[in-house]
Amino acid sequence: MRSICFYFQVHQPFRLRRYRFFDIGKEHNYYDDYQNEYIMRRVVDKCYLPMNKILLDLIKEYGTQFKVSFSISGTALDQFEMYSPEVLDSFKKLADTGNVEFLSETYSHSLASLKSKNEFTRQIKEHKAKINKLFGLVPKTFRNTELIYSDEIGAMVADIGYKTMLTEGAKHILGWKSPNYLYTNAINPKLKLLLKNFRLSDDIAFRFSERSWNDWPLTTDKFVGWLNEIGEDEQVVNLFMDYETFGEHQWEETGIFDFMKALPQAVFKNSNFSFNTPSETSEIYQPVAKLHVPYPISWADEERDLTAWLGNELQDEAYDKLYQLEAKITKCKDEKILKDWKYLQTSDHFYYMCTKWFSDGDVHKYFNPYGSPYDAFINFMNVLSDFEIRVKECK
């Protein structure tokens, strides 16, 4: 018996409004409320609500046989509360079935794990509390922003108390090894790692509607056929993807919803795979080896590294200047400032400043409010300049 482990990322940032340098010192509202609400409404209608319903129906039909997991960022949760509380209800219903695991992550969907252990820990705590408050659950599995992982990050997460963590099955880390096994962190073997099978995950998330793809159209039979080709002793197939795949990245017309509706049946009939949550998977199987990841990896772009968010001059300066304020902020008690501190750390702000131009450019443009990475940078830095003034004045 082998497992399929589904994990869906649910995240929306607080996108910034057009903030010019003459606003600095005057205007302290940084967010494009109109745009954020508009996008939220759209994703709710095209993706979150219809897909949640499909999952709920599948759970009703198959009971404990069908399981999935989510990680919902703090900024997404805040926006649900502000703009579409019915989505929260929908997720609560899923939580109540007992078949859905909710993961732990940083509240801001941030890159704090790379900069500050304190801030990283603080955000995880805050997120955990929020999940508990909203869903009555205590998250047991951790996933870092965009599956960013390294030996040290893993060790930090193990110290905090987690036993299972998700990350990318990046080729340059695995080499000849397969992502379909459990591994452990190289520093602290108590932390088990679930690695994304990027080939099969991306078949659904990216290639599904690509007519030029050799294997288009992707039917459940074909997919289950590929699952069956996997060696018998391999343990798990981790299908990790952005939840927006269902309805946004892949529109309803592509048949993506029908695919998911039919998948459990096809899996049960024609294979020996079962559906398990990350926690369950971690308990059922034994890790086969340590995984060495000296430099951080992620699930982004071709490189599967940090270059989507960091590395060019713009990103590095914005990132450094932002975290230079951390020391002052820990002494500050102003609610508004603390909220802005959370929202400004979201990784998306740096993502928009990326200057890699080629095939990954399309993904970067999705819901990107800026025309160019330079606009993203200058806008963010203007906001940061105003924020800096407020922080300096904070008691």
Partner: protein, 425 residues
């Protein structure tokens, strides 16, 4: 392959990009082992000796040759001897035609003289010069061997047409700037007609950008199949001769360099400067160039009360241009309609970050530049402020901008051009 080119201005005696682009293209072609003869109305003797220049002022015409009678019919649509502004109205043009039929031979005699001293500029008798230039084309074509004729901008189109008539060889016309770029919607009909006639007669039209190509297709009705795009390039700077140039003021310097005329959007630069100076007075703005809007601009600067931080240098030539760039922290090109725009490339090769208008041909090919609509003063001011305040972005542009510009070589443009030539042969 042998090319016969008809141009108008040539370095160092230039007023704008036409001469620079012509020169770059010729050098690029020569590097690719193409034989080029370049005809100019007036050669001064101090041009690059490696280029074969033909000085039209030296060409002798035999006025008694019967063929010149034909010219009166062919070329009478071109104004001659206009002592007023170079571009006349249709009514004035009509007057002249009537006079000609009445036999105003003495004016005609001027351009039919044996030798004609061109000014090679854009003065009051420009139409007369254009007409004479066309007449000479045949004479020049007789004494040169060539496979392709290539004419740069409307001033040389007639010459190109005449040379083609004589030799029956393919004609390529190059559109560096259209009348729409220069004058907005208030175009001079005579110039427009010459432009259109040239492009209609040509076997291929080379536009310096997609922006220009679209104007050519939409405003002149030219068949899209014969219009191609060849982006300009920029000469590499041999030595960083002004790298050690010390600024004499402690403030940052934001520069505008170009003709101070409608097309270049000088007023937007001034308004953006005003906005920046409201917030940050550690910056000085410099406007380098001259033109018909200079006085109006000076008045506006005084009116806004920023004259202590806004400076005018007059027209800069040759080395002074590079010296100006060496002192600049930001270069702005707010052009209303720029067919290409070589000056931001010259700034970038001197490690200066640039802000360019989206309504320019050069914005089609640059990655490391900030782009704004020419009227978007808020965006321009924001970008200027950003480049001066936030090191990350100016660092990025200084490094990567230079690398990007260094890859824009005239040899590569020339290679592409040779490909176009070959498709005609």
């Amino acid at each position: 392959m042998k090319i016969l080119m008809f141009g108008w201005e040539f370095p160092p005696h230039i007023t704008g990009g036409l001469g620079t682009a012509s020169y770059g293209l010729v050098k690029g072609l020569i590097k690719n082992s193409v034989d080029v003869t370049f005809v100019v109305p007036k050669a001064y003797g101090d041009e690059d000796k490696d280029i074969r220049l033909v000085n039209a002022s030296d060409i002798v015409l035999n006025i008694f040759d019967k063929q010149f009678e034909k010219y009166q019919k062919h070329l009478s649509y071109i104004e001659i001897n206009s002592k007023l502004v170079p571009y006349q109205t249709p009514e004035q043009y009509f007057d002249l035609i009537n006079q000609e039929e009445g036999g105003r031979k003495e004016t005609v005699k001027n351009i039919y003289s044996e030798k004609y001293e061109f000014s090679g500029k854009y003065g009051s008798n420009i139409m007369e010069e254009v007409r004479r230039y066309a007449m000479l084309a045949q004479e020049i074509a007789k004494s040169t061997e060539f496979d392709i004729i290539h004419a740069h901008d409307w001033l040389a189109y007639e010459a190109g047409i005449q040379a083609k008539k004589y030799s029956n060889v393919p004609l390529v016309v190059h559109m560096h700037a259209t009348e729409y770029d220069r004058s907005g919607e208030n175009i001079n009909k005579v110039v427009y007609d010459i432009e259109k006639r040239g492009m209609d007669a040509a076997d291929m039209v080379v536009a310096v950008s997609n922006l220009t190509r679209n104007i050519v297709i939409n405003k002149y009705g030219i068949n899209p199949d014969k219009v191609v795009v060849l982006h300009n390039a920029v000469e590499p700077i041999n030595k960083m001769s002004f790298a050690g140039e010390k600024k004499t003021v402690k403030e940052k310097i934001v520069t505008f360099l170009g003709r101070i005329t409608f097309q270049k959007g000088p007023e937007y630069f001034v308004e953006a400067a005003y906005k920046v100076l409201q917030r940050d007075d550690n910056v000085r703005f410099v406007m380098a160039g001259s033109g018909d809007m200079l006085n109006k601009t000076i008045k506006r600067v005084a009116e806004l009360g920023i004259a202590n931080r806004f400076h005018f240098t007059g027209f800069l030539r040759g080395e002074d241009v590079d010296r100006m760039f060496a002192l600049s922290d930001v270069y702005v090109m707010p052009s209303v309609s720029e067919p290409f725009g070589i000056s931001p490339l010259e700034a970038m090769r001197s490690n200066v970050p640039v802000i360019i208008s989206k309504q320019s041909g050069v914005s089609e090919i640059l990655n490391f530049a900030l782009k704004a609509d020419f009227w978007d003063i808020d965006a321009m001011a924001d970008y200027i402020y950003g480049l001066l305040q936030y090191d990350g972005i100016s660092k990025m542009f200084k490094e990567h901008g230079k690398t990007e510009v260094d890859s824009l070589k005239w040899e590569n443009a020339a290679k592409k051009l040779i490909g176009f030539y070959e498709s005609l042969l």
